[in-house]
């Protein structure tokens, strides 16, 4: 068993080192510390001793130096004793703490003034935009907007594209401003052109400032996050930004082509794709854009549609709770589903359970003793 493993995994120099001292001395001259005789003598003599060697806490380092392990790479007890878990949200891969620290850190001489983050996250079928501030007990959400609310404003398809992101950002901005009663002062950019727009401070109050929090996405030019950012900017929020990452920014000329960006904001890229599919691959058009066809949305009508959605958002950005009842809770009775999502017991409940268990044990022991006595 050992022999075959050796044949399989040993690189050529390893075999050489074990078989011939000449090879060792020559490599030792070259300075390869791992080919020094004393290491290999240990290994050569006793495979058991090597196995023991591989179980110490430096075994994983040793294995990486030997290019391939003879013994299977075990995580010894020592490994687990020394292992430091990362933060929970880092383990889940959801939070970038390096960025979070920098976004949340407020100047100490501003004391309790909240520092708001404009958080944008994309799921496969939804967009979540929130304005959040951090606190020790947990982040407090000032206002949130979801792409699944857009059907209320007339947009039912394409809820995760650039244009929908713009709508979501716009909805969130208007919602925040309405809640803070700043929506009359800060209209923002009503006419959605693609060019870079920053809010001008009005007479009485300064604009609402938030910092863009992209999360873990790769910030490439034309990413939908920046669509949401544009929506929020046009909605009237003050978010420090540059136009470098908006769709339509030309890397070589180093300027934003407002026309191209405007196209993206109004779904022009989707319309163009629809047109090419209608001409070249009508079947694919039928399957891909079936929902659009069902609602009678033509490629040319997209811009008009989004304009109406923008107007509807500006008219009434207030959040309406959905009238749907929450889904019925199914009580799980049988394994393994019974053990999923159990409610965390309180301290008293756990203590009571322990007492009950001990009593049962004592009574059972008592019965056994009675049986033994008899």
């Amino acid at each position: 068993m050992v022999q075959t493993l050796r044949e399989k995994f040993e690189p050529a120099w390893l075999t050489l080192a074990l078989q011939g001292t000449n090879a060792i001395s020559s490599s030792a001259k070259r300075g390869h510390w791992f080919l020094h005789l004393r290491y290999w003598r240990r290994m050569r003599d006793d495979f058991g001793r090597f196995a023991a060697l591989s179980e110490n806490r430096y075994s994983h380092i040793w294995e990486s130096f030997t290019a391939m392990a003879f013994v299977k790479a075990q995580k010894s007890k020592a490994y687990f004793k020394r292992y430091q878990v990362k933060f929970k949200r880092r383990r889940q891969g959801k939070t970038d703490y390096r960025a979070r620290i920098r976004l949340i850190n407020q100047d100490k001489n501003k004391y309790n003034t909240p520092k708001y983050r404009f958080v944008v996250r994309f799921t496969n079928k939804d967009i979540i935009a929130q304005v959040t501030s951090a606190s020790i007990a947990g982040d407090i959400v000032l206002a949130a907007a979801y792409a699944h609310e857009l059907p209320r404003y007339g947009l039912e398809v394409g809820l995760t594209n650039y244009a929908a992101a713009y709508c979501t950002g716009l909805l969130l901005a208007r919602r925040v401003l309405k809640r803070l009663e700043m929506d009359e002062e800060y209209e923002g950019n009503v006419e959605a052109t693609g060019e870079d727009y920053s809010v001008e401070p009005a007479e009485t109050r300064r604009p609402f400032r938030a910092l863009l929090d992209v999360g873990l996405i790769r910030t490439t030019t034309g990413n939908r996050v920046f669509g949401a950012l544009k929506g929020a900017l046009d909605g009237g929020l003050d978010i420090p930004h540059s136009d470098k990452r908006f769709a339509g920014f030309d890397k070589d000329k180093k300027e934003l082509d407002a026309e191209v960006h405007r196209k993206y904001v109004f779904g022009g890229h989707v319309a163009a794709y629809m047109k090419t599919l209608i001409e070249d691959e009508p079947e694919k058009y039928q399957t891909h854009f079936s929902d659009y066809i069902k609602r009678g949305i033509e490629p040319d009508g997209l811009e008009e549609l989004y304009k109406n959605v923008h107007a509807a958002i500006r008219a009434d950005p207030t959040f309406k709770k959905s009238e749907k009842e929450p889904p019925k809770e199914h009580k799980r009775t049988s394994a393994p589903g019974f053990w999923y999502n159990l409610k965390k017991l309180t301290y008293e409940e756990r203590k009571a359970k322990l007492i009950a268990r001990l009593q049962a044990l004592n009574s059972a022991a008592g019965d056994d003793e009675d049986d033994d006595d008899e």
Binding site: R100, I101, K108, Y111
Partner: protein, 164 residues
């Protein structure tokens, strides 16, 4: 070659992060606010190199006298020769935690105010002063039996048994 007395000399252990607590710093250190007059403990976080106090101040408690963008000014007592100087240092918030030295006092103040308000409402007179622990009260010893122990006469034979 002599040991050297640099700024961070002899801090190998005190400035090192505790076992399995290395890496990202928890966010509450950055979210806490400090006001002038608060008591704070200085505990150096070796992972953050900026705004570190000198090793003398590690483990000291002082009062906040200044608050800047990322650091706070702490006033700490230091004995220099035959006197104690109030030293003012600036420390980044990562090396500082709110002190609990006045916590007991503050809670006692609140409780005493409540007690006094209650007593005033009832019209009785109370003293909220803390009393030191007095001598333990007397008690009767329970379950004591008397055993009289008398010396036994010396027995030569028994003692020599082991010897000869």
């Amino acid at each position: 070659m002599p040991a050297g007395h640099g700024l961070r000399s002899r801090t190998r252990d005190s400035f090192s992060r505790p076992f399995r607590k290395k890496g990202t710093i928890a966010l509450t250190t950055y979210l806490r606010t400090y006001r002038i007059g608060d008591y704070v403990d200085i505990k150096v976080n070796g992972a953050v190199h900026k705004g570190m106090p000198h090793k003398f101040y590690h483990g000291r408690t002082g009062r906040v006298w200044n608050v800047t963008k990322r650091a706070i000014g702490v006033e700490v007592n230091k004995q220099v020769g035959n006197r104690i100087i109030r030293k003012r240092i600036h420390v980044r918030v990562e090396h500082v935690m709110p002190s609990r030295c006045t916590e007991e006092f503050r809670l006692r103040k609140i409780k005493n105010d409540e007690l006094k308000a209650e007593a005033k409402a009832k019209g009785e007179k109370i003293s909220t002063k803390r009393q030191p622990e007095g001598p333990k009260p007397g008690f009767m010893v329970e379950g004591a039996t008397l055993e009289t122990v008398t010396p036994i006469p010396y027995d030569v034979v028994n003692d020599l048994k082991g010897g000869y």
